[in-house]
Symmetry: C2
């Protein structure tokens, strides 16, 4: 089995190579233990007019944290798939005044094993994720709840389009 650090670093390299805004936000995948995933980002490139973190940066980093959590679960199971964010709800509770970390985990009623089994059998699976950015005292400063859909590449017959619009989904995070 590939080491989790290798998978994590490969995904971080891909994010930074493929998504200019990920580079602009200065993010890195700072931790992954197969249950939770953390993306960290510095304040400076993400600051707003008030001197705290721009809401758009929080939304971007948190969405990518959820997307990466799902992506690494599929990578770890050697399922080649595209992962799209379907919808998300964000609550901005407290301003964030420093470098920050977004920590993603599955919803309490979700499991990686059920998600991956559905993805293997049906070639498509949905999963819900929660992401939190805490303030310096550990209180939630911003929370995101998002649903992602994964479409396996290998299990889709060659004659079937993988066009996202036709599949009823959505924008790659």
């Amino acid at each position: 089995m590939t080491e989790s650090k290798d998978l994590r670093e490969a995904l971080e390299r891909a994010l930074l190579a493929d998504i200019p805004l990920a580079r602009a936000m200065g993010l890195r995948i700072s931790a992954w233990d197969r249950t939770t995933l953390a993306i960290s980002a510095p304040l400076a490139p993400n600051i707003n007019d008030k001197g705290c973190v721009f809401g758009g940066s929080l939304a971007g980093v948190m969405t990518l944290a959820g997307w990466s959590l799902v992506h690494l679960a599929a990578d770890d199971a050697r399922i080649d798939c595209d992962i799209y964010v379907q919808d998300s709800t964000i609550r901005y509770l407290l301003p964030v005044w420093n470098d920050f970390t977004a920590t993603a985990s599955l919803d309490a009623d979700e499991s990686f094993s059920a998600f991956l089994e559905t993805l293997r059998v049906r070639g498509k699976a949905r999963v819900s994720v929660r992401v939190v950015v805490a303030d310096d005292s550990g209180n939630p400063a911003c929370t995101l709840h998002a649903r992602f859909v994964a479409l396996a590449k290998a299990t889709i017959p060659s004659g079937v389009t993988t066009d996202a619009a036709e599949s009823g989904i959505t924008t790659p995070a």
Copy 2:
């Protein structure tokens, strides 16, 4: 009364000066008619691994479109205030493959006059906004519904803190 074009251009300058990610996304406030506001952005700096617009860019541009709509209403009424995003729900319906525009307007049951009157009288007011990014055929590709809170600076007594946490809010967009 200040021309709407002057207010719009002043806010765009402030956004680009104060928010590095607004510069990175290449946005401009492309239209404002006191009822709707549009922010446009090019694909290139906002692209993702699939070649369409990154979900985090959509979230950032749409949040700023809503924030700017509320900000310009206050500017136009000469009310000096801070505006914070409180929560938002985003639905990613279709991928966006080109330069894009996010168009913001108030919720159907909201009015600028009621919002501004509450802000004048109480020094604080909330308002709900809808933002849409359409695809090339005019179909909604991404929608955002967000609540914003405005805190008037001039009407807050000097002994009262404007600390966002104490006020029960939130992150400046």
